[in-house]
């Protein structure tokens, strides 16, 4: 049984990525908009996505949540479309649409019959520059995002812990601020803040178009030039530099007590390097390290804490390698009944120490690499996932070449690479340890 913990800790072990080079064509429009076309002609369907190199970590101080708020507001009107009309037109054409915001990107997409691509590009390019908002839109949608925060965060102690842990991990970098925003700042979001963010970042030279499905690259190019190519680049696009972390001098610890916690756990994250363009080797090693330590039943944490001893109900390790700036590597242990959080944390440290001493099990590494290779075959069946992979990479400092080199880089990682990355990583002074627990019952 492996999937049961989903409700407790969202990030499980790093999923192994994949690419399929021969399905992919890329080019750039004259105004600087990058285009990726992923072909799959098995069904007459297309996924049309526009990714902006702008996310929560690009927000001005004091306006946390505005990137996500703007994402919602893009479903309101433009000069030629009424509020809500965008989604209504997509639906009337048998398609579905949605959008999502992260630290480094905001993305909009539609899934629809391939012959409707022209219409999707017409509407998506329109809202890139022609958004028109009313005070009524602003007020009602602010209530909606506050309810979204209630649903995702305030009603869920695990989410509250994650928010506090990130804030403790990043003293200076905006990754310490939640994507959805701090509640007190969300309440103050307004028309001006939303439009400032829009005018700064929504432009073709800050966007990536991804079209995946039953399309030919030349046709996509013609349509993209017609709809997106006519939009002017923003010459004042700011350089993407964020305040970076100072040297961390001491480990940080937090304990969140909440009466709604019925399954306590301990989790620790370490500041870690991310995938950098042309230099993804250390990230590749960390990706495999997460699999070795926490990738399911055969991982080291499971072996030591769930099989050889029964100190944990479940364990996991996670590494978010695709990131513009310094990322984190994390571990989590859900203790078995009768095991305290301190004992669980000690057990986790025991596993790390023993790994650093004994090194990589070559058979385990070989098995992980078999799966890396197979993931390239399975990936061809899911162009939506492939499209997401490119979108995340290209908005987070990587190139198409980096994405396509990634499986080979993973395959080339040696045991020594992994040990070197682990030794560098497991420095308690770069970590945050977080306990989630219920208050002790009073008699």
């Amino acid at each position: 049984m492996r999937k049961f913990i989903a409700g407790l800790i969202l990030s499980l072990a790093a999923t192994l990525p994949a690419t399929a080079k021969d399905q992919v064509t890329t080019f750039t429009l004259d105004n600087g908009m990058d285009v990726v076309v992923i072909e799959d002609h098995r069904a007459p369907v297309v996924v049309h996505m526009v990714w902006y190199r702008a996310g929560a970590a690009d927000e001005p101080p004091g306006a946390s949540g505005v990137a996500h708020y703007l994402e919602h507001l893009l479903f309101k009107g433009t000069e030629t479309m009424a509020p809500g009309e965008f989604s209504a037109v997509v639906a009337r054409n048998g398609g579905s649409d949605n959008a999502f915001t992260s630290y480094d990107y905001t993305a909009y997409f539609q899934r629809i019959a391939a012959d409707r691509l022209d219409l999707m590009m017409k509407m998506e390019s329109d809202r890139m520059v022609n958004l028109r908002l009313t005070e009524q839109d602003i007020a009602a949608e602010r209530d909606v995002i506050l309810e979204e925060r209630n649903q995702r965060v305030e009603n869920n102690p695990g989410s509250l812990l994650r928010e506090q842990k990130n804030a403790a991990q990043y003293l200076n970098h905006p990754y310490g601020t939640p994507i959805i925003g701090w509640r007190h700042e969300m309440r103050m979001l307004d028309m001006e803040k939303a439009l400032d963010f829009y005018k700064t970042f929504y432009a073709p030279n800050n966007a990536i178009l991804i079209v995946a499905g039953d399309v030919m690259p030349d046709d996509v190019r013609a349509l993209a030039e017609e709809h997106y190519g006519k939009l002017p680049a923003n010459p004042d696009l700011p350089e993407r530099t964020r305040p970076q972390e100072p040297r961390q001098m001491a480990e940080r610890r937090i304990v969140l007590e909440d009466a709604r916690v019925s399954q306590p756990y301990v989790t620790r994250s370490y500041l870690a390097p991310e995938r950098d363009s042309g230099a993804q080797e250390e990230a590749a090693a960390l990706n495999l390290l997460a699999e070795i330590l926490g990738g399911g039943t055969t991982s080291l944490l499971a072996e030591k804490l769930q099989f050889e001893t029964q100190r944990a109900v479940s364990t996991s390790a996670f590494y978010r390698g695709t990131s513009l700036d310094d990322t984190t590597f994390g571990l989590a242990v859900v203790p078995a009944p009768g095991i305290t959080l301190q004992q669980a944390e000690d057990a986790m440290d025991e596993v790390i120490a023993s790994f650093l001493e004994k090194g990589v099990d070559s058979e385990q590494l070989a098995r992980i690499k078999i799966q890396v290779r197979a993931s390239e075959i399975y990936a061809r069946d899911d162009v939506g996932r492939l499209a997401n992979h490119y979108g995340r990479a290209l908005t987070q400092g990587l190139t198409v070449e980096d994405v396509q080199a990634w499986p080979e880089i993973l395959d080339a990682v040696t045991e020594e690479d992994i040990m070197a990355a682990a030794t560098e990583l497991f420095e308690r002074n770069n970590s945050v340890t977080a306990w989630l627990t219920a208050p002790e019952a009073t008699q």
Binding site: V45, G94, I112, I145, N150, T297, T298, V313
Partner: protein, 437 residues
């Protein structure tokens, strides 16, 4: 995300339709029926198995036993313990998932052409000869207990469980398929072995395969994989009585946002009016932005991030369900608006424009579901469970288009019953009074 992605739509049955999907029906020499979609584009196969019955087969006093059994299928088989089984699976880059719902045990497998025989041998061992060794039983039991404990303080789970309890009472649908800490503690290895025999039997089996495999290869594979399962399992449980008194039950829980689940009587999948009801639900609360509930509760008033309704057709009962979450101060208003929309829909019906828009959406969205080996395999096996013919895929959109305005509005009058609309609200909802004890 502008919209929450629904996790529960899977139980709605109106299944997809694109003429290009070419289904071949197979009967093996051993008597296994299966649907195959051959597609040699990518060198792997998605295989879906379904066993009807699922958690509703739990014997009296053993609530949770089928769940524990299914959780153990991947924890060792034959002479392999849990980790040996996992290592063998990894070496083949195969993936096997074992899931449980109220009515079904699902097995979803994916394996490469290059090592198909070895992968099938492994899957076979997990189905025919699971180890159920005591250390694994104890370990997975603790995992289940952990889930049970977590659900006890999750407002969404509390709302769902309380509504189920109110609606279904003592029927298995009325309690969590995880069981309780007490029932799970008492389960023995013998109970688990019996649950395995009861649930994984050939008399309730449905099979589909999609991908890089021929009909002959699949025929041999299925007999090898499945013939040693018992021919017959435990008889399926009968229909459930549904109690929907109308009104509100408040379950006090200290959290800032109240979660409400609601229900009224539903409609059977094979009812002649099913498609009219399906279209009606889409317009009322079917998950799109354009639905009446989303427009009135979210877009106009900002009372929630998401409000939905859906037709839940289970094997033993059918109800019309929905959910909403709003802060404690505003959930009362959200409930009032939902009630008002329910009544307005019953009185006034839908407009011709709404009907036309719903039809273009539903018929256009249908072919989009067929986007990969696993999704197609999933659709094909669900169609068999619904007793639909293979040509349903090419006819389904015609059935949607055949629904008239008169049909939808008649069904709205006959089926929507604001009097029976029953809410369970979990939280500290201001000004909401319990009318059901």
């Amino acid at each position: 995300m502008i919209r929450y992605v629904l996790a529960f739509v899977a139980c709605i049955t109106a299944l997809p339709a694109l003429a290009e999907v070419d289904i071949e029906e197979i009967t093996t020499p051993g008597g296994i029926n299966a649907w195959l979609v051959e597609d040699h584009t990518n060198p792997f196969v998605a295989l879906e198995l379904r066993f009807r019955g699922g958690a509703s087969l739990d014997p009296e006093g053993q609530r949770g036993v089928t769940n524990l059994m299914v959780g153990l299928l991947e924890e060792g088989a034959g002479d392999m313990d849990s980790r040996a089984f996992a290592r063998a699976t990894e070496e083949l880059a195969a993936s096997f998932r074992y899931d449980l719902s109220d009515d079904t045990v699902s097995v979803s497998a994916r394996f490469l052409t290059e090592n198909r025989d070895a992968a099938v041998a492994l899957l076979r061992a997990s189905l025919i000869d699971p180890a159920f060794d005591q250390p694994s039983i104890d370990r997975v039991r603790e995992q289940v207990n952990s889930v049970i404990r977590s659900n006890q303080t999750d407002p969404r789970r509390i709302a769902g469980r309380n509504l189920d309890e109110l609606v279904y009472g003592n029927h298995p649908y009325g309690s969590s398929l995880n069981g309780t800490l007490e029932t799970v503690a008492d389960l023995t290895r013998d109970d688990i072995v019996a649950a395995h025999k009861a649930a994984l039997a050939r008399d309730r089996l449905y099979v589909s395969a999609v991908g890089d495999i021929t009909a002959d290869e699949l025929t041999a594979l299925l007999d090898d994989l499945l013939l040693e399962l018992p021919a017959e399992g435990t008889p399926l449980s009968g229909t459930a009585d549904v109690n929907l008194p109308g009104g509100v039950r408040v379950v006090e829980f200290d959290t800032p946002q109240s979660v409400a689940s609601f229900a009224q009587p539903g409609i059977k999948r094979d009812d002649p009016d099913f498609f009219a009801a399906y279209v009606l639900n889409h317009i009322l609360g079917g998950g799109s932005f354009e639905s009446r509930l989303m427009q009135e509760v979210r877009e106009k008033r900002g009372l929630t991030y998401g409000v939905y309704s859906y037709l839940a057709d289970r094997d033993a009962a059918e109800i019309w369900m929905g959910s909403v979450a709003s802060s404690n101060e505003r959930v009362g208003e959200a409930i009032e608006v939902i009630r008002a929309e329910w009544a307005r829909m019953r009185e006034d019906g839908v407009t011709p424009e709404e009907l036309a828009d719903a039809k273009t959406y539903l018929t256009g969205a249908y072919p989009l579901r067929f986007d990969g080996n696993a999704p197609i395999a999933n659709i094909a096996v669900n169609m068999q469970m619904e007793d639909l013919p293979t040509d349903y895929i090419s006819n389904r959109n015609d059935m949607v288009n055949a629904v008239t305005l008169e049909d939808v509005n008649r069904v709205a009058r006959e089926l929507l019953s604001p009097d029976k609309l029953t809410f369970v609200v979990v939280g500290k909802p201001e000004g909401v009074i319990s009318t059901i004890n």
